[in-house]
């Protein structure tokens, strides 16, 4: 599924992030929370990959494991030809400037005891040996770039509004001219009117600086606005990875379909009220179901779904789906994705033998 093109900036392969569970008197290792369980994707230079999914599905964990803020359990994260997951601490430190992160809560991600100038220049202090004057010059440049008044340089984070704080966070992420930025729900904590400003700022910066984003969000309309391709995650795995327009027009994976049916249509006359309401709750990532992670709630699940885990496969050019509805039986000719119900029927028959 991973087509080797020279412009691929980030390539994630089989990323797993398990958090061990210790229980009992002896604190024995009794299991793992499989927050991320075998995720693979790649991001092209200059593109925005949206990562959506409900709370607790592992979106943020992917983002953090990508920058090795967590030590991944398995898998590789290749950014510009270097595997982040196995770099030595010193090499990783040298690599940090190419990849940065914008955090969800702009209040929590800024140290309340540092001035704006100190916050933005922190990456410069870490990675350059510039003089304070030169650092300040760069800080002013960055403040101009994200639309903050230069007079604010000496103020503290609590003196700013949420949108301004997020701009500070973005300026800090930009300080070292990164190529790849993980935006971990950068707009979730903001007011709707401010969300638009921040997203537009991110888009402008991408255009100007040629940035590549991994845009993590649960706001589907925002993802639709900013992303080029979208990955839908469910319970630690990618359910579908498709170009934005194709995904929103015709979601293939039943979960993506259900998720996208929840997007509100602002125009009531256009509203297609055919929401797919999923039954039940998300299973615990500590005990995922045996087969497909979605099989407990999938309206189209059949026997095979409860037995094996589907792998992410390319079913149409550029569209990757992890679902047996689209995966041909071994030996079978590739089943054309001719629409969900048909494929469903076909495979169900095939499965029952």
């Amino acid at each position: 599924m991973l087509d080797a093109s020279p412009q691929t900036l980030v390539r994630v392969d089989g990323l797993k992030m398990y958090f061990p569970i210790y229980s009992g008197i002896l604190r024995r290792h009794t299991g793992d929370v499989k927050a991320v369980d075998g995720v693979s994707f790649d991001i092209q230079q200059g593109e925005t990959l949206g990562l959506v999914g409900e709370s607790g599905c592992g979106k943020s964990t992917v983002g953090r494991a990508l920058l090795r803020l967590y030590e991944p359990t398995a898998g590789s994260v290749v950014i510009e030809g270097e595997d982040i997951a196995t770099l030595s601490p010193e090499a990783l430190r040298k690599k940090r400037p190419t990849m940065q992160m914008v955090f969800q809560d702009p209040q929590a991600s800024l140290n309340p005891r540092m001035t704006l100038a100190n916050i933005i220049s922190e990456p410069l202090v870490e990675h350059t040996n510039w003089s304070p004057e030169r650092r300040l010059e760069r800080v002013y440049e960055l403040m101009d770039a994200v639309g903050l008044n230069r007079r604010f340089a000496n103020r503290f984070p609590h003196e700013f509004s949420g949108g301004q704080r997020q701009r500070i966070g973005i300026a800090r992420a930009l300080a070292l001219n990164p190529k790849f930025i993980v935006c971990d729900e950068p707009i979730a904590a903001l007011d709707v009117s401010i969300q638009a400003q921040v997203v537009n700022l991110l888009e402008d910066l991408q255009e100007k600086l040629g940035l590549t984003y991994l845009f993590i969000s649960h706001d589907l309309s925002m993802v639709r606005h900013i992303a080029d391709r979208v990955a839908v995650m469910y319970l630690g795995r990618i359910a579908e990875l498709s170009p934005r327009d194709a995904l929103f027009a015709n979601p293939l994976h039943p979960y993506a379909e259900a998720l996208l049916s929840a997007v509100n249509e602002p125009d009531p006359s256009l509203a297609r009220r055919q929401r797919i309401i999923l039954k039940g709750d998300v299973p615990s990532p500590a005990r995922p179901p045996k087969g497909c992670n979605f099989c407990t709630r999938c309206p189209k699940a059949f026997a095979r779904c409860h037995a094996e885990k589907p792998e992410l496969q390319e079913v149409e050019p550029g569209r990757h789906v992890a679902c047996f509805l689209y995966t041909p039986e071994t030996g079978d000719a590739k089943a054309g994705p001719t629409g969900v119900p048909e494929a469903n029927e076909h495979l169900q028959q095939g499965e029952t033998k």
Binding site: Q104, A108, L110, P112, H127, N149, R172
Partner: protein, 304 residues
């Protein structure tokens, strides 16, 4: 509002002016600062201005246990010595012991607390060590330490300096546990904060993260522990002296004066009141100063 070029200051001005302004607006802190300054000046400069007359033994016996009078503003003790002069000499030692022991305890406690809180691997061993120290009966431990090392240290540094260093070290080394526990708890919470994560994503070394992001944010609880620590150190010193293992018996400290006056408390209450008052005022003023400092150092409180 919008002219960027003109408004941009060439260099952010220092924060100290704002900190001092906030500190000054805290009435209690200013009161504490003034009282503490008076106390410190009195014990440092006082002896140069106050020369009690040298009394012969017979005169001293006649003058013993006097109440406050012009000749002896704070009265005399049971040996006819001038209390004011004794208080000033005692204050020098007590204040020095209190501050130095507090600094040792806080530095050590913060160091242990930060290591235990930040590095998961060190957490267990260091906290068990802290528990062990907490479980030790401190007075016997202090007594043994002083008994074992007093003569050796005194041999190197002289009896007074030796006793001072030994006592300060002994008190510091036995009272860091509270600070360590407080700091460790605080660090455990702080290191999960997003700005620490942000610093890690920048590639900051743990040492830098601790200095830049964690330590400034544990200032408030440390400040409280420190102010209480001073009082405790002064009292512990007096306990040691009382048990005969602190400073030599004729060497006045506030704690020793307090204990000397204790047996005469019902007849001459002022003999206990003076040192007690001095200790209380020191503790109170340090407490208020700590309070004011904590507020002044927090930009959210300092706000303009």
């Amino acid at each position: 509002m919008t002219d960027l070029s003109a408004a941009a200051p060439s260099k952010p001005p220092s924060q100290w002016a704002a900190i001092w302004r906030q500190f000054r607006s805290h009435k209690g802190a200013m009161f504490g600062l003034i009282v503490l300054s008076v106390l410190v000046l009195a014990v440092l400069i006082g002896p140069y201005f106050w020369h009690p007359e040298k009394l012969t033994v017979v005169e001293a016996i006649k003058q013993k246990n006097k109440g406050p009078a012009l000749q002896f503003p704070l009265g005399t003790d049971q040996l006819g010595r001038d209390m004011l002069a004794r208080m000033m000499a005692a204050g020098k030692v007590s204040l020095a012991v209190g501050f130095v022991a507090m600094i040792i305890a806080i530095t050590f406690g913060t160091f242990i607390g930060v290591l235990a809180g930040y590095y998961k691997r060190l957490d267990g061993p260091l906290m068990r060590l802290t528990d062990m120290f907490l479980a030790l009966p401190l007075i016997p431990l202090l007594l043994v330490m002083v008994m074992l090392f007093r003569d050796r240290v005194a041999g190197i540094l002289g009896p007074e300096m030796g006793a001072f260093l030994l006592i300060v070290f002994a008190i510091g080394i036995t009272s860091w546990m509270q600070a360590a526990r407080i700091v460790r708890g605080e660090v455990l919470a702080l290191k999960e904060r997003e700005y620490v994560l942000a610093a890690r994503s920048i590639g900051a070394a743990p040492r830098r993260i601790i200095i830049r992001h964690i330590l400034p944010n544990v200032v408030s609880p440390v400040m409280v522990a420190a102010t209480l620590g001073i009082a405790e150190a002064i009292i512990t010193e007096s306990v040691l002296s009382f048990l005969g293992l602190g400073f030599p018996p004729d060497f006045p400290t506030w704690g020793r004066l307090l204990y000397d006056g204790l047996s005469f408390m019902q007849i001459y209450p002022e003999r206990v009141i003076w040192p007690g008052l001095a200790i209380s005022l020191t503790v109170l003023s340090v407490n208020y100063i700590g309070d004011g400092l904590r507020d002044a150092l927090d930009p959210r409180v300092r706000g303009r």
